[in-house]
Structure formats: C-alpha cells, structure tokens
Symmetry: C2
Subunit: 315 residues, 2 copies
C-alpha cells in the first residue's frame, strides 16, 4: 500500500506587524500526517495521536476536508486512510489546525504525483482552516506550507509573497496553558480602529518589508510592532507586558502575541540570545501556577511542509 507521511510546521500568524496578512514558519514543532490509499471512495481518520479532543469525522476533521477538496478539484476520489500525530497543543495560537491542514495537503499532493505547485496547496490547506476556525484564513497555512515569512495580500495564489529572511534570526515561543479560543480572541477586537493607528501600522509594514530586503536589523526591530491588536488581545494573556519588558531588556528584537494567543513570541539575533530570553520569560511565569511550553526555533526559508517518510512497497 502506497503510504506518505508529511510534516508541516507550527507558525506565528500576524507577527505583530501584519494582522491577518503575515505569518512565519517555526522550525521546531509541527504536525505529522500520514496518508495511505484505502481502496475506497471515502477518506477516514484512522488515528489521532495527541489530539483526542479533535474531531475525527471526515466532514469535520481539517485533514480529511483538505484531502476531499483536492479530490474534488482533481475529479478523482481515491480515498485515503489518515493518521494524524499532533506535535503541539491546539488552541495555543501557534497554528495547530494549520499545521495539520498543511501536512495533509502536502502529503496528498505527493501521493497523487504532485498535480499542484507548492503555492497552490495553500488554498486547499486554507479549507482546513475554514472547517477548524470558521474562515479560510491563509496567514498560518501559507507559511506552514511554504516556510519562511509569507505575506498574503489577498487569498489568491498570486497574492502570496515569500519575503526574504535575515540570517541568524531565532524565535522563542512560550505557550501558557490557559484556554483562549480563536473566536473569543476575535470577539475582544473592536470592529473599527483609529485612522491614525491604521496609517502608522501601514508605515510599519512598509518599513518591516524593506528591512528584510535591506537586511537592516535595527529597522527590523523598530518596525516589528503591533499598534492595532496587541492593546486589546494582551488583556487576555497573563503577565504579557511583564514578559515583553523582560524580553526587550534582554536583547529581543521584538515581542508579541502569536496569532490569536495565548502563545507569545520573541525574536532574537542568534541562538544564544534566544536562549537567554527564554530563561527570563520562564522567570516571569515562575510565581504563577500556569503550565508553560517553550521552544526556540531557527527562522529561515525551506522550513515549510516536507515529506518525512514514504513507503511505496506492496504490503
């Protein structure tokens, strides 16, 4: 039986400067999705490891929905059995459903002889987001599929822009194990923001993108700010500003909320500074009885979805 296993990484959506339009792939954690043709016309979730609370019905699970959309597009319904291994917590704000959706899209494309380009897979993976989160946002799935830093100026394949990355950047992520789901986190946002704030944020995005091309770390740091969302969403994250202050005092280039939270992230130049920031962030939470999960990730290109195992032999 032809079998393919793909990995797709966790991601930081928004990345401070680009609410709903920017995302960054993380190297260290992600989900694995294994697909095997099952000789039927339907797709089945046959294993869900570390995600017992997640739906396994074919029309509700993000992976099977992604595969189904690809089958519909191809007009070929070669059913698969799907084994999902979650590599990090869902509800963390690190793109859990996106990582599964991206891995499913990547695996099914490989299994069927690559009918789609890597960029084209983003739209299918976004269908997993639609079933998991209620809307087909691409700010997590795009970097999970493509790797690196991806700007999505719209929802079309042509709207995905793979931005350059400055070398030797690391991200620290900290997930405080409190429950904030995406829809609650969206509800705390006001519908309208001041025109002046919007204008400044537009300027910050322009400066941020130019910093990547010019490899200007000082500008990268000064532009990686979130004026629109952080003032509201930070209210839901215990000790947010204590962590931010501590991180920035320890050489962080930026600090912010990952996606809709509650995970937070810091960016640093070099792994040593990243580890130092991790240490001070842990200190902030030490007095609290909140369980945390932390990781350090190299940021870079070519850390998108990938095949980690293939078995084409007959069983």
């Amino acid at each position: 039986m032809k079998t393919i296993k793909a990995f797709a990484p966790a991601t930081i959506a928004n990345f401070n400067v680009g609410y709903d339009v920017l995302g960054v792939a993380l190297s260290h954690i992600g989900d694995e999705v294994e697909l095997a043709f099952n000789g039927k016309q339907e797709n089945r979730i046959v294993a869900m490891i570390n995600g017992e609370h997640l739906p396994v019905e074919a029309d509700k699970n993000c992976c099977s929905v992604v595969v189904r959309k690809m089958q519909e597009h191809l007009g070929v319904f070669s059913g698969v059995d799907i084994r999902i291994t979650k590599g990090f917590a869902s509800g963390s704000g690190l793109g859990s459903s996106s990582a599964s959706s991206a891995a499913a899209a990547f695996a099914y494309n490989e299994l069927t002889g690559r009918p789609f380009t890597r960029k084209e897979l983003v739209a299918f993976a976004a269908e997993g987001e639609r079933v998991a989160c209620g809307s087909a946002h691409v700010d997590n799935v795009a970097p999970s599929v493509l790797g690196g830093i991806v700007l999505a100026k719209g929802k079309e394949t042509n709207d995905l822009i793979e931005l350059p990355i400055i070398e030797n950047l690391y991200a620290v992520t900290l997930f405080p194990d409190i429950k904030i789901n995406t829809s609650d986190s969206r509800k705390i946002l006001k519908d309208h923001i001041p025109l002046k704030t919007a204008s400044k944020q537009v300027g910050l995005m322009g400066a941020f993108v130019s910093s990547l091309y010019d490899k200007d770390l000082q500008r990268f740091s000064s532009s990686l700010q979130d004026l629109m969302i952080e003032p509201m969403r930070s209210l839901l994250i215990p000790e947010f500003y204590e962590m931010k202050t501590a991180a920035m005092a320890h050489h962080a280039l930026a600090f912010g909320i990952s996606g809709s939270g509650p995970s937070v992230f810091a960016v640093a130049e070099g792994e040593k500074k990243a580890q130092g920031i991790l240490t001070v962030l842990r200190e902030v939470y030490r007095p609290a009885a909140i369980k945390i999960q932390t990781h350090v990730h190299a940021l870079g290109k070519k850390n998108g979805a990938k095949i980690i195992n293939r078995d084409y032999a007959l069983h």
Copy 2:
C-alpha cells in the same frame, strides 16, 4: 553678496498605498527659492513670484520659518533675503508648500556650508509644513528633499526610508482648478476605519514595498490601491471614477488622489503610455468648464532638491 538658488520638486503624498507615510517626487514641476545673506539678524521675503496670495511675513511664510528653525538649531542668525518663485499652484495637492520649504532648507544648508545631511533637512522642511498646513507632516517634504519614493515610518530622521524605484515609470498628474484646502479635505475623513480595511491596507503596503525590491510591475500595480481614504476623498473630485476607469483602461498601473487632492495621478510604464493616459484624462474633463493643468513626470531617484544657481562673487 553670496547667493544660492535651489529647486525642489512637487510631490505626490500618500501615493494610494501609504496614507500619511509615503510620498513620491515628481520631476517636472517645483518651486525655486533664492537666498542671499542680507547682513541683518532677520530673514525677509523680498519676492514672491506666482504666489501673490501667500503670506510674506517672516513668521508666517514657510520658507522663512524653515530658515529660522535652521538658524535656531545652529545658533547663528545670519539673516537672508528670500526670493520665492512658485512653479505650480498652491492648493493643488501636489505639495506646493513642501516644495518651497524643501527648497529653502536645501538652499540655506548650501549657503551655510552644509552643516546638515540631506536627510536631516527633512525635519526643518517639515516646520514649513507646520506653519503652512498646521502640522509637520513629512510625506511631501521628505520626497521633495530626498527625491524618489520615501516611506516615513515616523518623524525622526532614522524613520525615513528611501525605497528603490522600478525603472521607466512615469506619473501623469492632473490638477482640476477647483478649491479644496487640506484642512477641509482632512475633515471629510472619518476618525475610525474598519479593522478589516486597515488589515488589508497593511498587506497592500507590504506587497507594494516588496514589488519595488523585486521589480515586479504586476505586483506593483495590484498593490498600489487606497482602501482607506479614496472612498471618502474621491467624493470631492469631479469625475474621479470616470477618470480612474479611463486611465486603467489605457494601461495605467495605478490611479489615485495626490495628497489631499484635488489633483489626481496615474502611473504608467514608459512615457508613451503616460502620454496616452493624459489624453484620455483630458477627454473626461472636456465637457466640463473646469480648467485643468496636466504634467507627465519621470519617476526616479536623484530628483530631489538641487542647487540650480550659485553666485559667490561680491556685488
């Protein structure tokens, strides 16, 4: 008597994608400011050509205010006589006060042995904007001083980013001679805008900046949009959408409002297409009894403020 004459160009502020943070220098029109030491401690406006309605009192004229600010900063009050030649209409939305302010700053810097860098002159020129328009915006003065396309992510010298330009781009400007002053044009803007609109505009700015570095004309065109301001300000400009439709149908890469209007602009690849757009824009206004002024400008670097005459001989 030591005499210096400087030219500084008209500019398109906002340039669709960057309300209050982006500006572009135009090559074809601008103001001239001539300075000569007068042996006194005060500055005097001794000529104002083509700008009879503009203030000539030293504390109200933008040029003399700029010179005064530079003198205060240097702590040296070598007074100058100032001759201003306006090269285009004030109230046009093409940065009239900025061109004068930029030329004054550039000329005084040259006259006093270049104590400031070109970038540092922007803050002084912005003081001319403060007296002329009520606030020290830099989105016109920065490109007028520096040339090219300038992003201002803040008001500090370090916040000015000189973006790359794609070769062979031309701007068409059309000034319909109706009266909209900047403060009226600001009043029509709502204080708040939808978060979703802001988010999309942020994405457009990111895409626009990346298009300049990647020299991607298709992305340049698709990202050069104004979702925030145009829907409101276009109401003040007769036949705005008729002109936009006509321009876009004739190979314009973008069309929009210059600054706070009423001037509009189109961007085209190559001078021939620019001339073609100019022709169709003129057609739109032909039935109306509105006087128009039109120009075609090469966009490019090194079209900022410059010295056009110097006379160091003794009179």
